[in-house]
């Protein structure tokens, strides 16, 4: 069996284990689920290392490789957060997300092709790694927002009964977790844009030329920038805390949509033909 399929299966097993953990709440299952998830992540990482050795270049020269890398970064961010905060259900959905990304990757052309001259740059390395870590964090924040929005209607009255179990964050406070994830990812996104701009200057002579990919990465950045700033204006606009948290959760869902559109959806734009770096044209 190929390593990529093994990774896929490991992610599926991990998500099942996480659901089991939710049902039985046993410490043993908790460690098993985390263990399987880490194993899946290791498979994912091993594939990337093997691929870069085989291809002779970093494993993100085309859409296929980038997607596998994206899945790996999403898993990594999840693991980091699971260690910091004692998560619950997110693990199941995080592994499903990683699995979906991998599944989408397997639909792409998996052949190894020589990379074009413009991609041979250390800036590219920094650019892609920072970007994908940012995307991974936004992916997990998408999940926390989904859970928050799903739980919110049922938890209206229980607010006063909230009990904190050790370090564990209760579901209703997932909006705070979302914020922490964005706070984790946003610096990476910023570094990603800046390294990308410096690389573009080196390769194409201009750090910013309003290429559709550049413009959409700016849109992504602005979307999360708006997310970070709006909490400051809600009190002044007399919007209640409960309402504002729902608005922000929705905003994160939209923003993650923008992230994915920037990453893989740009081929649908009429201006795509002008772009220097949309996947597929390579």
């Amino acid at each position: 069996m190929s390593l990529i399929n093994l990774t896929l299966i490991a992610y599926i097993v991990a998500s099942v284990a996480y659901i089991a953990r939710e049902v039985w709440m046993s410490v043993a299952i908790k460690w098993i689920s985390l263990g399987v998830f880490i194993l899946a992540f290791c498979f994912n990482l091993t594939w990337l290392i093997a691929r870069s050795i085989k291809a002779g270049h970093p494993p993100f020269s085309n859409l296929y490789e980038s997607l596998v890398f994206y899945a790996c970064c999403t898993a990594l961010v999840y693991i980091i957060f699971e260690f910091i905060y004692n998560f619950r259900v997110i693990g199941a959905l995080a592994s499903v997300l990683a699995m979906l990304i991998l599944l989408y990757a397997t639909l792409q052309d998996s052949s190894i092709r020589p990379i074009m001259p413009a991609l041979k740059s250390n800036w590219m390395l920094a650019h892609v790694i920072t970007y994908m870590l940012g995307y991974g964090a936004f992916g997990i924040s998408f999940i926390t927002s989904c859970i928050f929005l799903a739980v919110k209607p049922f938890a209206k009255n229980k607010k006063s009964n909230e009990v904190k179990k050790g370090n564990e964050i209760s579901l209703i406070n997932f909006d705070k977790l979302s914020y922490k994830l964005v706070a984790f990812g946003f610096p990476f996104l910023t570094l990603g844009i800046v390294t990308g701009a410096v690389w573009a200057k080196k390769a194409w002579g201009d750090y910013w030329s309003w290429d559709p990919k550049e413009t959409w990465s700016l849109i992504t950045w602005l979307a999360y920038l708006a997310y970070l700033h709006t909490p400051l204006i809600f009190p002044k606009m007399n919007i209640s805390k409960s309402k504002s948290s729902v608005i922000l959760a929705f905003w994160l869902l939209i923003s993650f949509g923008i992230v994915n559109f920037t990453f893989i959806g740009l081929n649908y734009l009429p201006s795509a033909a002008d772009s220097e770096h949309i996947y597929g044209s390579q």
């Binding site: 610096p187 201009d206 201006s271």
Partner: protein, 623 residues
Amino acid sequence: MKNGKQNQPHMTTEAKDDRKKTNQISINQSERRGSNKVWDFFCSVKLAVVIILVLVVACILGTVILQGRTLDEYTAKYGYTLATFFRITELNNVFYSYWFAFLLVLLCANLICCTIKRWRNTFMQTGFILTHLSLVLILVGGVVKFQLGVKGGVNVYEGKSVNYFLTQLINRQGKLDYVKKDLPFSIALDDFILEKNEPKFQLVSYIKNKDRQKILEVKVGQRQRVPGSGYKVTIKDYIPDAELKQEPVNTSDTPDNPAIFVKLLGSDKVTAEGWLLAHDRNYYEDKKQNLRVEYIWLSSQEELEKTVSSIETAHPKISVMISEQGLSQDYPMELNKTFKLEGTNYSIRMLQYVLNYGDRRPLAEQPTDNPSVQVEINGPDGSETRWVFEKFPDWDKMHPAKYKNLKITCSGIASGHMARNTIRLFQSPEGKQVMVSIKDNHITSAIPWELEKKYTIADLNHQIMVSNYFPSFDFKKEVIKKSDEVGMPAIFVEVEGPSGKVDDWLFSNQQYATWYTDNNLALVYESTGDSIKHFTSKLRIEENGQTVAEKTIRVNDPLTYKGYVIYQSSYDPEAGSFSGLQVVKDPGIPIVYAGFGALCFGVVFIFYIKPFLRKKSNKEVEE
């Protein structure tokens, strides 16, 4: 915008207290400024959020609507009204429009006011100040680039030099315009080198009933399943530089595939020789001599005797079939005559015929490689013109046609088009062998022929000899290794499928796919195509006739001289004789890069360093 203590929307109690304090401070400040409403407006986070959202919308419009095209292109794509609307609202040039510039100026003002308002000399505020001012720096740098910078391109031929470059712009009339800009020096291209990657090869599988294409691994000895199917493929051998040697052999004495080896001799020297196969390529043509040699195998002696005396073995004709009506009709080839199809509404007419489709030479010079007739069909839905190919009777089945129900085939065009001199070598299973010479459509002789005997062709000063006869002709394929370097690689592949194991050599230069016996799995071993590894230009900068700078530039590694940066951007795709250079001058770069640096450090400070420091100080307080 973000205050040092305010960037977290969900605050701990301590943070809340802090916020009360800061609010008080800002209230005090605004009181001091005499509650200036304009000042408050420019300081507000609300304005910032509004600007961010408007920028998002503007950016989306700027990618959904094509940017910077000529007026004609807009009119063609969106229609006149919308094109005019775009032009007036500058939606055709969003990022360089006045309203977008206004937005950015507003953003700048907002950033500066906000920074001033919340400025407090504390270490914790470093991130806030850096991020907000960095954006101002980047925008200012952008203005410098827009005002003082230039960007253009020029192509230089090897051994030549240029002292200008061209910039592109859309002029007021909405047309594309080039403006020539002089350089204060000249750029000489001493050498241009295009380096290609080593060719790479891949094995592609295709499953017809699933229309699925997958790349298989080329690893000798590994048995792999074709994804999404039951086929198993094993690569049994690999030769980096292979050559296929085909040796004709006779496999049995029963005439399954009769073939003769014919030699043509001119004054005892062989001028042409080769195998003629009765069931395959059964003729040889020499257009110069106007000679044609045919090898005709007949199933019995009786038939042979019947055929020998007639000149034409086949009359050129076309056959029309309409299967649902059970109609099948033959028509002799007569150009420009209309034939009505009995019992139908159809009529057909033959427009022209050729011996080699696509060949521009006159008919008499064409080899009979791909004889075809152009037919016009007139029916209930009007007329249709199509080419009918003698060798590809199913062509029309596979290609779109108006009257798909009409199947038209043709035959006898190749053999009907006779050379001045024709030699026919007849043979039958009983061993009867007759050579018939035809000149200008008349039989001049009919004699028995034997192996290894020379016969003179009348008038042509040539002799003909049949030197070998194989009743069951076949090729013995042999693949030999030419060298160890990657040249023309080949792999020996074994496929296991529903009809058992099959193996064959696949060559990387093969033009067609190799199909498995069930005609559902195809394999192609092919080159992944030429790809460029590097292209470099050896440039020399000359000023007043003296060389002042020299560098070999490549993508990602430009040359800088007097504020101009010269990039490798393209090359002549056909001859590789010129190098495409991009010339950029941007005095705003230091400002922008300072902004980039400050922005990066600022965000890292806000989201990583500050929370860390705060945690640490909280712990200390607790202790």
